[in-house]
């Protein structure tokens, strides 16, 4: 194809799809990035490696159990598992500063855990019990922990891209040196908000890194059936004057190296980046979806590249003791068990809490003053105020 350099062919299988390290392509006509300059080779130390392994094994253990609990009816509503995609979370989180911002989607357990959010309140949020991360008001699709920089999981496709841009703009304005990292799926690249956010981020040189986890499906439909280009994110980067970047999303070290490069660049005023990580979800889109619309061989090929065993093998290869990894696996299991215990035993949340925290005054009244105190306190008036809410605090 004319005009492209280092373009990866559409993967016929994961082996060809993903290449370790970054593969950047020529930028658009008015690229605002300095990505052309070769960065110093990024070194990955042992602590970082172990940290990434921990993220992967913990996310995997957490989601496996969450799924079991879902099938058992303990986790209710819906869940979207990222099993298979954890290397993206591991690599990026390791490259972020503690005060950087993560924006992700309903498929966001891995990213949320990767920022250090504890499992117990997360799982309680998914089951909707007392002690939940957000009091049960958000649910599985909206996990947020501001103190960990986990600025929210968003359930409307595309919505968080402009929001992440806004957080980045704020960091830029406040000169705080923070970077926003925004994760989303391949399917998200076809919605309007993607386009608006990318363009405005580029024009404003906002410190935001947009990360497409290309797991090749939007719910039950293959991304290639509904997208005009092969790489839904990378093939659109030039529209925003950005480099076209496709990396192996199942290789935590490739992810980390790329993440470091573009996060650091954004922090240094180099503006946004758009990174497409080729990956795959092991299960279906959500809940009990068996994902049968996917060819068996495709699934098998990607399972063979499961980041958990492959990264484990790689770490052992570079000299990390298996026992150390085993210890981490056990630690993950311990945390999961603890969370599970809480999920099974926690009481239901207080129903009165539904009328709290709509507003910053802690309440949810749409009246500027309690009706009873300002109108003649007739029985009718007082009761009516109660009525519409189902309880008195709504007044």
């Amino acid at each position: 194809m004319a005009g492209r350099t280092q373009v990866a062919a559409r993967p016929s299988g994961p082996g060809t799809a993903a290449r370790a390290g970054t593969a950047t392509r020529a930028a658009g006509s008015r690229a605002r990035s300095n990505g052309g300059a070769a960065p110093a080779e990024i070194q990955i130390d042992e602590a970082t490696r172990l940290r990434m392994y921990r993220t992967i094994t913990e996310a995997r253990a957490f989601e496996k159990r969450a799924n079991e609990l879902f099938l058992e009816g303990v986790v209710r509503g819906t869940t979207h598992l990222a099993a298979g995609q954890e290397a993206v979370a591991a690599g990026f989180a390791a490259a972020m500063r503690k005060d950087d911002y993560t924006f992700c989607t309903y498929r966001g357990h891995h990213h949320t855990l990767a920022r250090g959010v504890p499992m117990t309140p997360m799982l309680l949020e998914m089951v909707g019990k007392k002690g939940a991360l957000m009091g049960g008001k958000g649910g599985s699709m909206h996990l947020t922990s501001v103190e960990h920089g986990a600025m929210g999981s968003y359930a409307i496709v595309g919505a968080h891209l402009p929001i992440a841009l806004g957080a980045a703009w704020s960091a830029q304005y406040r000169k705080s040196g923070q970077v926003a990292v925004c994760f989303f799926g391949d399917g998200t690249t076809n919605i309007g908000a993607f386009h608006e956010a990318l363009n405005m981020a580029a024009v404003w040189k906002a410190p935001v890194v947009f990360v497409c986890e290309n797991n090749q499906y939007m719910e039950y439909t293959a991304i290639r059936d509904v997208t005009a280009v092969e790489h839904p994110a990378a093939d659109r980067a030039a529209s925003y004057g950005l480099e076209s970047i496709v990396i192996d999303g199942n290789d935590p070290e490739a992810v980390y190296a790329t993440a470091r490069r573009y996060i650091d660049r954004a922090r240094d005023g180099g503006g946004p980046a758009l990174i497409e990580c080729m990956t795959y979800r092991h299960g279906g889109h959500s809940r009990a979806d068996p994902g049968t619309y996917r060819p068996k061989e495709e699934v098998a090929a990607w399972l063979a590249r499961d980041p958990l065993p492959t990264y484990r093998a790689k770490l052992i290869e570079v000299g990390i003791a298996a026992a150390q990894l085993d210890e981490m696996d056990k630690e993950a299991a311990r945390k999961v068990a603890e969370a599970e215990q809480a999920a099974r035993t926690a009481p239901e949340p207080d129903p009165a809490s539904i009328e709290t925290q709509l507003w910053s005054d802690g309440g949810s009244s749409w009246r500027s003053a309690p009706a009873a105190s300002t109108t003649a306190a007739s029985a009718t008036t007082a009761t009516a105020a109660t009525e519409t809410a189902g309880r008195a605090t709504n007044g």
Binding site: G77, G128, K137, M141, I156, I191, T383, E387
Partner: protein, 328 residues
């Protein structure tokens, strides 16, 4: 007569009309090959082909815009918005374009199209996948708004909506998909704008829509059993056109009005009807109009919180009892 789920009734209604009219086409996310995320459109693509049943990208503005462009040039599209919350990403297409174009062109452009959507709460999906948005649509001149509560009404009203020459927002309450009901054999076509008195009564009029209909009915049965109260329960079925005659006649008979609304309080559909009755039915009223709604908050995900927010049979019954007592 066949027993059928609400979900299957959606498929049946679409199939009936696609069979009849080759200009009926259907588009949406995951609706074809996958048969819809609520499995309400299974098999349609096999029966009617990929040209008529189309999977789309995640591009709600394009989906709704395409339906509009197709409707203004001779087709009768049905577009699916997977969750009604996604009206928000395509609201310009719905509220500014589709609703206004016939009027702005003084009738040059007709827009016979239907937007089907999974509306409402009850499944623990949280605030962005559980909204009741009938009122968003009701507030926009140029949109008809329909919300069936039974499989039979799904088929009949969907057929009526598809045949209607104007744009119809068709709200399927997603917690109702598994419920079953009798659906007559043969072609079924209902009439938009006709409310149904689902329980005749004399003590008070109770208006409900979609998932609130079975709850209102159950509350009425309970109050009949415990208090001997005889409530008239009306399934509105359609907000635009609105069957004001049935509503006003009922209030004339009972002298009392309650609404049971799944939506948050402010500007739920009950507000409009309350204002209607407080004007045109004022002299029939014996006591205050009472709206039983969700509090004015988003819908929480936790099951315990979600059910505390949506009007429950208990809350409906308790409120009606208390307010009737009060006025005696």
């Amino acid at each position: 007569m066949a027993e059928m789920t609400y979900r299957a009734a959606v498929t049946a209604g679409i199939a009936q009309e696609m069979e009849r009219d080759p200009n009926v086409v259907f588009l949406g996310e995951d609706v074809a090959a996958a048969g819809g995320v609520f499995k309400a459109t299974g098999g349609l693509v096999d029966r009617f082909g990929k040209d008529r049943v189309r999977d789309t990208p995640i591009s709600e503005q394009a989906i709704i815009g395409a339906a509009m462009g197709a409707a203004m040039t001779g087709l009768r599209p049905i577009a699916e918005l997977m969750f009604s919350d996604f009206f928000a990403v395509s609201w310009d297409m719905v509220a500014n374009q589709i609703a206004k174009t016939r009027y702005m062109t003084d009738g040059q452009v007709a827009l016979p199209l239907v937007i089907r959507t999974a509306n409402g709460g009850g499944l623990g999906f949280g605030a962005q996948h559980s909204q009741s948005i009938e009122n968003w649509a009701m507030a926009i001149p140029g949109l008809k708004v329909v919300a069936p509560s039974t499989p039979r009404d799904v088929v009949g009203l969907l057929a009526a909506a598809i045949r209607d020459p104007d744009p119809v927002i068709f709200c399927e309450q997603k917690s109702l998909y598994p419920i079953k009901g009798e659906v007559p054999d043969g072609e079924l076509v209902d009439k938009l704008g006709t409310a149904k008195i689902v329980r005749p009564g004399s003590d008070a009029t109770v208006l409900a829509l979609a998932a609130m209909v079975p709850r209102a009915l159950e509350a009425a049965e309970r109050l009949a059993a415990t208090d001997g109260t005889n409530l008239e329960v009306i399934d509105l079925r359609s907000l635009v056109p609105l069957d004001t005659a049935t509503i006003l006649d009922s209030v004339k008979k009972t002298g009392r009005l309650f609404t049971v609304e799944e939506n948050p309080r402010l500007l739920g559909w009950g507000a409009e009807i309350a204002s209607l009755v407080a004007d045109e039915g004022f002299w029939s009223l014996d006591a205050p109009i009472v709206r039983i709604t969700a509090p004015h908050v988003p819908l929480a995900a936790a099951p315990a919180l979600e059910s505390a927010t949506m009007p429950s049979v208990e809350r409906i019954a308790d409120t009606i009892r208390r307010r009737l007592d009060e006025a005696r």
